[in-house]
């Protein structure tokens, strides 16, 4: 009998700690599939940030370093410089990258560190119980913006993929979504391309993934998926914001 669908080789069979309906698991699967296809897992080291992504090492059977909150791009910098022939990726949430770690992500990107960063944007701090993040949408109610985010006091949701695309050191910056099969396929291509950028020594690559947090959004998994389409994408447009085609930076 031919298997037409199976668990990727580089995804363990551990039951995830993610809430039912959360799309972190999809992102994990896509990264595992990309590692399978590119044959890089033997030489890949993953660096999770702090938050729901922290248990990355339970699900990927690869070497891993647990970074302090927001610092994964700096850890990845030191690691990649020490081992330029290894594939180094960081996996950060929106609190991790877009709040406490803005300095580290911007400067790693600006130096053109030849690393890959996967960024899960679910508009809240998931693991700590759904507090307001820099990516929280205007009007969105969270435990720390109980009356809805107001730009007058909390500012506007921060667009990381666009911002990072402005930096010369960035080879690839894109935003994808995980809310429908079509978008999952697009996300898969983006993840693969980001790894390829690193393999080809093109410089810094980042894939922002719009992701659900139905638990903290206080909606059903299905409703959460439609909220990405209805509320997140209009503010966080999908697309490729920068893609280097040659080593034109040299």
């Amino acid at each position: 009998m031919n298997a037409i669908f199976k668990r990727p080789d580089n995804l363990t069979d551990a039951a995830t700690h993610f809430c039912p309906g959360c799309t972190h698991g999809i992102a994990h699967r896509l990264i595992a599939e990309a590692m399978d296809e590119l044959g890089i897992a033997d030489r890949t080291i993953g660096i999770p940030g702090v938050g729901c992504c922290v248990f990355l090492y339970r699900y990927f059977p690869i070497d891993a370093l647990e970074a302090p909150h927001g610092r994964a791009p700096a850890c990845a910098t030191g690691m990649k410089r020490a081992q330029p022939d290894r594939i180094i990726f960081a996996y950060q949430g929106d609190g991790d990258m877009a709040a406490i770690g803005t300095s580290e992500i911007i400067h790693a990107a600006n130096r053109g560190e030849n690393i890959t960063v996967f960024f899960i944007n679910n508009s809240v701090y998931g693991m700590t119980g759904g507090q307001m993040a820099p990516t929280t949408l205007l009007g969105q109610q969270t435990t720390t913006s109980p009356f809805g985010r107001d730009f007058k006091s909390e500012g506007y949701p921060i667009k990381m993929a666009e911002m990072l695309a402005t930096l010369e050191g960035v080879a690839y910056s894109t935003r994808v979504s995980l809310h429908s099969p079509k978008h999952v396929n697009q996300a898969k291509k983006a993840i693969r391309k980001a790894f390829e950028m690193q393999i080809n020594e093109m410089g810094f690559s980042v894939v922002e993934m719009l992701s659900t947090c139905n638990t903290n959004w206080r909606v059903s998994p299905l409703e959460a998926l439609t909220m990405i389409e209805r509320e997140m994408i209009p503010y966080f447009p999908l697309g490729v914001f920068k893609e280097r085609t040659g080593k034109d930076f040299l």
Partner: protein, 354 residues
């Protein structure tokens, strides 16, 4: 005889790092340690190394973490405010059992403080600084030669115990020049690193982490670390002791105050006052046994520091219960001159105020 070269303390330290096999330096400018990154920016690449002028001290220590996790020798250096920013990373290094060398050429504080020589960061280095139940190995050079030699030792100890090692020196030690042998006294030790993250090829995946959520997992980890720290205390004490045989008073001092104390002790002995010196070279592990043994007999101790008495507590804990402990300190860039110390010696011998 090995050739000696007139060398600045900070440069001896930086050259010591290169000779110790350190090939990765990450740092952010701050006075009075800028000679270190400037020397390494020029000389690390010549030796196949990497220098990154990091965006902050927070980034610096995390870059150190990434290089160290890769099994390479990595270092950063800074001064007070920058070292404060690194404490998060240092705690993670200790918790995840990764080696690293962190240099603090101390400036005055609190806050932005001043850039004059001081020892105000003793507690930060020796008694924590970061969160959680951990210890740094802390080395305190007292000469330019020790800036070189102890830097090599710092890398060896960090690797041996998989633990962050700090070198703390006042700006005097960092900035003055002395003749220095710039070659290692003995072959540099390179322990195996069967824990380094290099990609899983041919073996099972490795993990460096400090998060323990299971029942009692964290407690078990803390007790494991405690055992390691006890082992360090047992095996790695370095201390210089002088003129203790007939001493009626012991000065305990490290770094520049220990040098001043030596002059004060000669002045005192010229006047017939029997004074000896215990100079801790490792601040953790503190020379507990040495202080206890000698204070059991002498029972009169004068601690001299360039702060308000941060080491006094460790001396008190180590000393014999009947020992009188006196303190003379000049914080915030004030300087303990030999005559001042001689005055304090006389007061202490006369049974002056504690």
């Amino acid at each position: 005889m090995t050739e000696k070269k007139l060398t600045k303390g900070n440069i001896a330290l930086a050259e010591g790092a290169i000779q110790a096999g350190c090939r990765f330096y990450f740092g952010y400018p701050i006075t009075p340690q800028n000679d270190i990154p400037e020397y390494l920016a020029r000389n690390l690449p010549k030796n196949g190394g990497t220098f990154i002028p990091a965006e902050s001290e927070i980034a610096s220590i995390n870059m150190v973490m990434g290089a160290s996790a890769s099994g390479k020798r990595a270092m950063t250096s800074s001064s007070g405010p920058g070292i404060s920013l690194m404490q998060e990373g240092i705690s993670y290094l200790a918790g995840s059992e990764m080696p690293a060398v962190i240099v603090n050429i101390m400036r005055c504080g609190p806050g932005l403080g001043g850039i004059a020589p001081t020892q105000g960061d003793y507690n930060q280095a020796v008694h924590g600084g970061g969160h959680g139940d951990y210890r740094n190995i802390v080395l305190a050079p007292g000469s330019v030669q020790e800036m070189f030699d102890l830097t090599i030792r710092a890398f060896e100890l960090a690797d041996k115990y998989r633990n962050p090692t700090m070198i703390i020196a006042d700006a005097m030690i960092g900035q003055f020049q002395e003749p220095c042998r710039l070659t290692p006294e003995k072959p540099v030790e390179f322990p195996e690193k069967p824990w380094a993250l290099t990609g899983r090829k041919g073996r099972s995946p490795r993990l460096l982490k400090s998060l323990y959520l299971g029942d009692y997992e964290q407690e078990e980890h803390n007790l494991f670390l405690k055992k390691k720290y006890d082992e360090i205390q047992e095996n790695e004490v370095m201390v210089e002791m002088q003129n203790l045989d007939d001493a009626e008073l012991i000065i305990v001092a490290f770094g520049t105050p220990a040098r001043v104390a030596k002059t004060a002790i000669s002045l005192a002995r010229a006047e017939g006052l029997k004074v000896g010196l215990i100079r801790p070279i490792t601040l953790f592990p503190f020379p507990v046994k040495q202080v206890f043994e000698h204070s059991a007999r002498v029972k009169n101790i004068l601690v001299v520091e360039m702060n308000t008495g941060q080491m006094v507590r460790d001396v008190r804990i180590a000393a014999h219960k009947d020992a009188a402990i006196h303190f003379y300190g000049r914080p915030g860039g004030g300087f303990p001159f030999p005559d001042d110390v001689l005055g304090e010696i006389k007061k202490a011998l006369a049974g002056g105020a504690r």
